[in-house]
Amino acid sequence: MTPILKPWNLTLLVGVLATGACNFDIANPNSPEPLGQNPSRLAVSGAANGLLVGTRVDQADWVLDAAILGREAYRFDGSDPRFTGELLQGPLDAGGNAFGGDHWIEPYANIRGAKALLAVIGTAQSLTAEEHSAVSGFARTLEALEFLNVVNGHTQDSIPIDVLPDAAAPPAPFRSHADAMAEIVALLDQGKTDLQGGGTAFPFTLPSGFTGFNTPTNFIKFNRALRARVAVYLNDFAGALTALSESFLDVAAPMSLGVYIDHGTGPGDFANPLAQNPQVGENFAHPSLETDAQLQPGGAKDQRFLDKVVPRPERSVGSGAGQLSSHLGWIRYATPITPIPIIRNEELILLRAEANIGLSNLLPATDDINVVRTVSGRLASIPVLATPTAALDELLYNKRYSLLYEGGHRWIDMRHYNRLASLPIDRPANTPPDVIFSTLPIPTAEVLPRQ
């Protein structure tokens, strides 16, 4: 009658397993430790490169959406008709993270990343004070870039500037457009100062898109290039010339010289989604690019058009008055690893022209425009522009073709000079007719918590 099993032992076993041997505190197995006090060099490097990934998250989407808003591109996508509906006809959906409500979440997330790095960098004992300063200058420059991205998408209104650490806190107040621009200027200028005290090297490696700009000293040139763009947007043309003089502007250098965001196909990397087979892809160039392109002396179209756009089988969406069609495909980004520029020499030359036009210095402006026309477009030089209006027309033509499909420049510039009305309306008789929007709406998620 001796029991074969001793059930008490089983109880004991369960008791031991349940209370003693088992650890209930399980660390997050799927994520790295959040950036904290006294970060290691590796953590600083990860966070710094994270700011570049953070800006990459939205870059290609912005290029495409802003190109559609500025009538440089179409996307005929059977999976999402909103590319030809919402973006061209409206209404823009503030409640959607794609389209109307887009280009807000991602830059603010990256601003948070920059602020988080700035908050702890001073405590990093494994870095020198110079290195702290270099990292700060880097982070502030990227933060400024992200604020600029927010402002570029959203001009009708003010935007929040204070990015708070606490998710449970009430959201930061909206500040005026002028305040936002002032914040960007301040961040860039402080960034420059930080970089000047940043020694000779960053305590991390920058990807190849920053070749030539990967030391604090060289990085200042990138910082100043952004500063020049901001100054032009602010109509601070003298300030723009000053900033340009400290940038990497060089009429003798390749037009492509500049700062790029890398794309790749390796583990954890992100392929450039704008790289498509131009014959079958969903992204199309706007037909007006072909008709508006000036001719080279030999009769060929503007080389910039030829370098970026090719003919392809025609496709259309809709019918009758609601039809859109195009027979032009994009070759701007050749492969999934082709980087997308943030800012490059060609823009800087045109920014200098733009600043000079603003200051009515039409001679140097024409010289710069001619550099771009002849080198980049293989067009004939033009005589000195006679009036500021004519100069602006010529400048905007060149900015359009030089900066095609790389960051919404067309839309931003036409808005800047109140010329949105001269962008083509493709479907005026559609129900509802197409509209040229001047801004994206503030996202519902930003508005609801304040009500």
Partner: protein, 969 residues
């Protein structure tokens, strides 16, 4: 203490020896069905107040060695009402006729980890579904066999893809952002119902970035269980019944008990089924009448003209070309059960092959089970269950997509005059979209292969047993382990593949899941001599350790082969979800006043690694009472009043307490990014307090059974994943809030047996359920979540409103939750024929029909000219155009069966044949709905608390027909 227990134990054994010596006379007799007079096999006849019992044989006869003197026999059989018969000392025979227990009043229903009471005393509305109900018609997976059978359960398929993917939702909306699924318990152990993405997202790009890939249309793993193994399913719908499962029980608990062997010679059951599936509903698309008509479709006149001429002016039916298959489907299941006094066994096997309606789709399953019971002596019973399952599914490609690959995203852009069919084995490219679905389905591989082992060992030790008192210790140890492999291979030859510059995609997914359960329960019953009352005390400990570890390797640029190893660019992903839970409970149950009054109370304490404070115990009390009135007034046989209260918890979704920073690389450099979701280090389970009351009654001499339940569930400490102002730099804030949610509902069921004669019977059952949810307090401002943005319909979380409201451009435009649900079941037997059918009715519950939106936008909907065009215009201001009523009435199951008369059976197969049955059955044969999509059962995002009913290019629904031959010998 220990010594005393052993003392009692031995004296108990001594007592049984004495009793054995006192067996001096034999009582014989026959137990029969009071309705039909047929003998009842496997009925038990016991002497009241003793442990002496005998079982009847196949003809219903028994022989019992009984002590001298007057005694009372208690006669029981499953499915029949218990009867007590007085047998005087002089009497040597006792024939007993038992009344069928049509409404299962005497069925034992679970009330604790190791306790149960008869349904007639049960203080909660617990739904049970038995083997006969599950197997009425062949079912692809278990969940679909439950549709319409549980009042208060909303059971809806996420799509029509073969192999499962079904959500079971009990008593309304129990959460917004915490866990969604009920707890599934099989033979005492908690099993996994995980849904693991198959990797299709790599091609569909439905979800980009680091978001959870939940648009892959995954299978939830409950689908693995073999329905034929199941003896009974008990559904503890609300907190008052489920409180014994503590912090995991708010969504309800589904307790599945598998079949066990009975003492006796081996009994074989074999079932062979043949049938087929076919598409139940397709959408159709715009028909082009002429070339002029076709030319309106595209600006490329040359292309359209050439295609039109090639097609000969016909419109192809793409849906039929892709989903028009009706391949033979087969299912063979067999079991053998029996045993000796000491050992009983149930062994079963299943081989199933369901053909898919589309090329290269289908579902296969093989399963074996062995349930063994062994008496080890010394009052110890060991039950060992082992189950090995192998399931394979091929689910094609469906659901949302941003790459033009999912068929119902391609058809809307492809006019009918394009010929997509292969010629000489070569599929033409689709000139209007990125893919040709006929080519995609022919060449794409989306194979899921799952091996799963469920094993349980239960030891029951009768520590001591006396006439009045019985202490039992039950130890349960069990594991649910599965290994899932998904091979998703999209070869470079597919039309869409070169588009991203990286032709050929492969995703290899390997996921391992382990649920380890250990529990010890002690149950003490005390029944004093008068038998007028009885007390059951139980207490126990449960420990659960589970881990889901899922690894994906994504390869792009795959020019040859099917392994990521051969791809030019490779990226790995891994997600590990370890959780450890510990629960302690105690419960007291008292039956008083001649078993008329039941009082019960209990408490459970739980801690979990998912909580912020992992050391803290959360307490979940419960209490319930029921009172039985026997013949309270004319026509009423019995009536029961019941009331119950209970608290339960709901677990945070794994990872809610963490800040999930992400990683990436740029130009080969390692990068980290802050989490887009703010976690809550103090996260704790949601708490539900449920009040439930009801009346059950049996009328008309057991012909009518009525049950009515009212409940209110107050859920507090709601975990919110609040969409926050993105200028904070994060998108979501997950935290335990002070918000509260309320559900109120009514459940009713009525069973009537209008005909009950020797030759014919008709049992009609109907259920009704209604639930209304309301966010009674929202501690944060109104926010929107889920879906594809406001313009295409999103979900609005707002104080004072239903938790499931759909918001659009114009404000609130609908609600996902049904207004009410009903079901109607008929079981009609006439002589050897039986007919069973079940209608399932859902009234209300809106659906965001984005499939129609895509067809309209592609100017390709069936009614584009007459209505679609206008819908597109209206859509510019009204999301509501595409938010449509999802009411339906479906004929879920029909079975017509013929049981061969026994003389034919024995002349054909010999006298050992117990039964032979032929049946014809169908599932989802008819449906009535005003919904314009493929199927009003749809969920692009899989199992969801709120964000259901989003219809984006789902896999079309199917109906099935089967011929079955069932033999028992």
């Amino acid at each position: 203490m220990t010594l005393r227990v052993w003392g009692i134990f031995f004296s108990c054994c001594f007592l049984s020896v004495q009793l054995a010596a006192a067996q001096v006379r034999q009582i014989t007799g026959k137990v029969t069905n009071a309705e039909t007079g047929q003998g009842l096999a496997e009925a038990t006849v016991s002497v009241n107040g003793t442990r002496i019992l005998a079982q009847t044989g196949n003809e219903g006869n028994y022989v019992l060695n009984a002590p001298d003197g007057d005694l009372t026999l208690v006669v029981r059989a499953i499915g029949y009402k218990r009867r007590e018969v007085a047998v005087p000392a002089s009497q040597g025979t006792a024939d007993v006729a038992l009344d069928p227990d049509v409404f299962k009043l005497e069925e034992i229903v679970i009330t604790g980890q190791a306790t149960g009471v008869e349904r007639q005393n049960l203080p909660n509305a617990v739904a049970t579904v038995d083997a006969a109900d599950i197997s009425r018609a062949p079912t692809p997976t278990l969940e679909s066999a439950l549709q319409g059978k549980i009042p208060g359960a909303l059971i809806q398929a996420n799509s029509g893809a073969p192999g499962g993917g079904i959500q079971l939702n009990l008593r309304g909306v129990s959460t917004i952002n915490a866990s969604v699924d009920p707890l599934f318990v099989v033979d005492g152990i908690v099993v996994s119902n995980a849904a693991i993405p198959n990797g299709a997202n790599a091609v569909t790009l439905a979800q980009s970035g680091g978001n959870p890939r939940n648009q892959d249309n995954p299978v939830n793993r409950l689908a693995d269980l073999n329905p034929a193994d199941i003896e009974k399913i008990e559904v503890l719908k609300g907190g008052s019944a489920a409180a014994i499962y503590g912090s995991k029980a708010t969504n309800g608990v589904v307790i599945i008990t598998t079949k066990r062997g009975q003492q006796g010679k081996p009994q074989f059951s074999v079932s062979q089924r043949f049938g087929f599936f076919e598409a139940a509903h397709l959408l159709g698309q715009r028909q082009f009448a002429s070339l002029a008509d076709a030319l309106t479709f595209s600006s490329d006149a040359a292309l359209v003209t050439s295609l039109w001429n090639q097609s000969g002016g016909q419109n192809f039916n793409f849906e039929d070309e892709l989903y028009g298959r009706k391949p033979l489907s087969t299912e063979t299941s067999a079991s053998v059960s029996g045993g000796t006094e000491g050992t009983q066994y149930f062994i079963s096997g299943l081989v199933k092959d369901d053909g898919g309606i589309a090329t290269n789709t289908g579902y296969k399953k093989q399963a074996v089970r062995a349930n063994i019971d062994q008496d080890l002596g010394s009052g110890i019973q060991l039950a060992v269950n082992t189950n090995v399952i192998h399931s394979k599914s091929k689910r094609g490609l469906s659901n949302n997509d941003n790459a033009g690959t999912s068929p119902y995203l391609v058809f809307p852009a492809t006019p009918g005059f394009v010929n997509l069919q292969a010629s000489n084995g070569v599929f033409p490219n689709n000139p209007f979209e990125r893919s040709n679905p006929l080519q995609t389905f022919a060449l794409l591989q989306n194979d899921e292969d799952v091996w799963r082992v469920l094993g349980t060992v239960t030891a029951r030790w009768s520590v001591f047993s006396s006439e009045h008192s019985h202490l039992q210790l039950i130890g349960i140890g069990g594991a649910d382990y599965f290994d899932q492999r998904n091979n998703f291979v999209s070869p470079p030859t597919l039309q869409y593949e070169p588009n991203d510059g990286q032709p050929g995609t492969v995703v290899l997914t390997k996921a391992q899941n382990r649920n380890l359960n250990l529990a010890v329960n002690a149950t003490h019953t005390y029944a004093p001599g008068s038998a007028s009352w009885q007390a059951t005390t139980s207490a126990g400990v449960q420990y659960e350790d589970r881990e889901l570890n899922s690894t994906q390797i994504l390869g792009r640029t795959l020019l040859a082969g099917t392994s990521p190893d051969l791809a030019a660019s490779v990226a790995p992903f891994q997600q590990i979800e370890p959780v450890r839970d510990l629960g302690i409970f105690g419960q007291e149950e008292v039956l008083l006043l001649d078993r008329k009054l039941l009082l019960t109370a209990g408490i459970r304490a739980d801690r979990s690694s998912s909580n912020g404070n992992t050391g803290k115990y959360f307490f979940y009390p419960k209490a319930a009472a029921s009172y039985r009135l026997v013949k309270p007034f004319g026509g009423v046989d019995e009536m029961k009043l019941r009331a119950a209260y209970g608290q339960t918890g709901n677990r945070p979704v794994f990872g809610t307490k963490y800040l999930s920073d992400s990683t990436a690389t740029i130009g080969g450099n390692f990068a980290t990014l802050p989490s887009i979701q703010a976690g809550d280090p103090n996260i704790k389970p949601e708490r539900q307090k449920e009040y439930e009351g009801g009346i059950d009654a049996t009328l008309g001499s057991g012909r009518v059974d009525l049950s009515l339940t009212l409940y209110q569930r107050n859920i507090s400490d709601l975990i919110l994943v609040q969409t926050i102002a993105p200028s904070i730099g994060q998108q979501f804030h997950a935290f335990s809030s002070t918000s509260t949610l309320r559900n109120r509902g009514v459940e009713a069921s009525l069973g009537v047996q209008p005909i009950r004669t020797r030759d014919a019977s008709w049992l009609f059952r109907t259920t009704f359920a209604l639930n209304r949810s309301k966010i009674t307090h929202l501690s944060v401002p109104t926010f929107q979540t889920g879906g594809f943005g406001t313009s295409l319909g999103t979900f609005q979380i707002e104080e004072g409103k239903s938790a499931t409201q759909i918001a659009g451009r114009e404000g609130v435009v609908g609600d996902v939750y049904p207004k009410f649900q009903m079901s109607f079941t008929n079981d009609i037997d006439y002589k050897a024929l039986s007919l069973g059918f079940l209608f399932d009715w859902k009234q209300g519950g809106d659906i965001i029909n984005l499939t129609e939106f895509l067809y309209d936008a592609g100017q390709n909907s069936k009614d584009f000219e007459t209505a679609g065009k206008q819908r597109q215009i209206d859509f510019a201001s009204k999301t509501g155009v595409y938010v449509q009523d999802g009411s339906y009435l479906k004929l879920r199951e029909v079975t017509l069966a013929y049981t061969l008369p026994s003389h034919i059976t024995s002349s054909l197969f010999g006298s050992n044949m117990r039964y032979a049955r032929l049946s014809l059955s169908g599932r989802n044969l008819l449906r009535f709905t005003g919904y314009r999509g493929l199927d009003p059962e749809v969920s692009n995002f899989g199992n969801q608390a709120i964000v259901r009913n989003v219809d984006v290019a789902p896999f079309p629904p199917s109906r099935s027909f089967f011929l079955s031959i069932d033999l028992g010998f």
